[in-house]
Symmetry: C2
Subunit: 138 residues, 2 copies
């Protein structure tokens, strides 16, 4: 039922609720927007949301959009299992659409650059800002 179950780790009740809210949203949500979505299911206060989000991000099921202070469900076909090192988004500044991308070329460039400057890379965040295909046409 939960298409994003973390392998070997069943989500707790709150984690599932937050995950479902994000999956249903088809786009990024702020933590407080999630809180509002879930008041019907008994959520009352920010820590309930943030604790669930922390875990979901740790599992790699959810990404944080740093430049938006918002969260989005992983959009890739198989986001179960491994957490990727490079998280990559294109964010449309007109319609707000967020598309998750993968680029091995960019990942290589990032890793290589980290090596050049002797930086021990844990993860990297790449956020492209501009206009999506639909919006740039208009």
């Amino acid at each position: 039922m939960n298409k994003h179950a973390h392998p070997g780790t069943d989500l707790t009740k709150n984690q599932s609720l937050v995950m479902n809210a994000l999956s249903a949203a088809n786009g990024p949500l702020s933590a407080y927007a999630i809180l509002d979505e879930l008041r019907d299911q008994g959520f009352r206060a920010p820590p309930q949301v943030y604790r669930a989000l922390d875990k979901l991000v740790e599992f790699g099921l959810v990404h944080r959009l740093e430049s938006l202070n918002a969260f989005v469900a992983c959009q890739l076909p198989s986001c179960d299992g491994e957490t990727r090192e490079t998280i990559l988004f294109a964010i449309c500044e007109r319609c707000g659409k967020v598309e998750e991308l993968v680029s091995s070329r960019l990942e290589k460039a990032v890793r290589s650059l980290a090596g050049e400057v002797d930086f021990s890379l844990k993860k990297s965040v790449v956020e492209l800002r501009g206009l999506c295909a639909a919006c740039k046409g208009e």
Copy 2:
């Protein structure tokens, strides 16, 4: 005197104060940290800081670190004049050091990727998280 003067655009009083605070800091500062630094010079409220920061970012003299909610003076030898499309930082999670980088290879990968997915790129933010050379040794 102000080594970061924007060509053809003299900074206003508040912009200069904020710029100097950031240049002196040798690292990122939050807007509220800047506010505290500048209380002696008459700053009283957040909008004074944010308005100056908006302009400095627009001029390309200051960058915003999205994943830290903080701001840093451009570290590149010649940050005058053109605003770069790709802003690139390595952020040490142990000592907090922030290093601004340039990589034409990465810039190319970003532009090429944007082209592939038909995304009209305005700017991009790349933030590497991990350990700097000094910290990874210990």
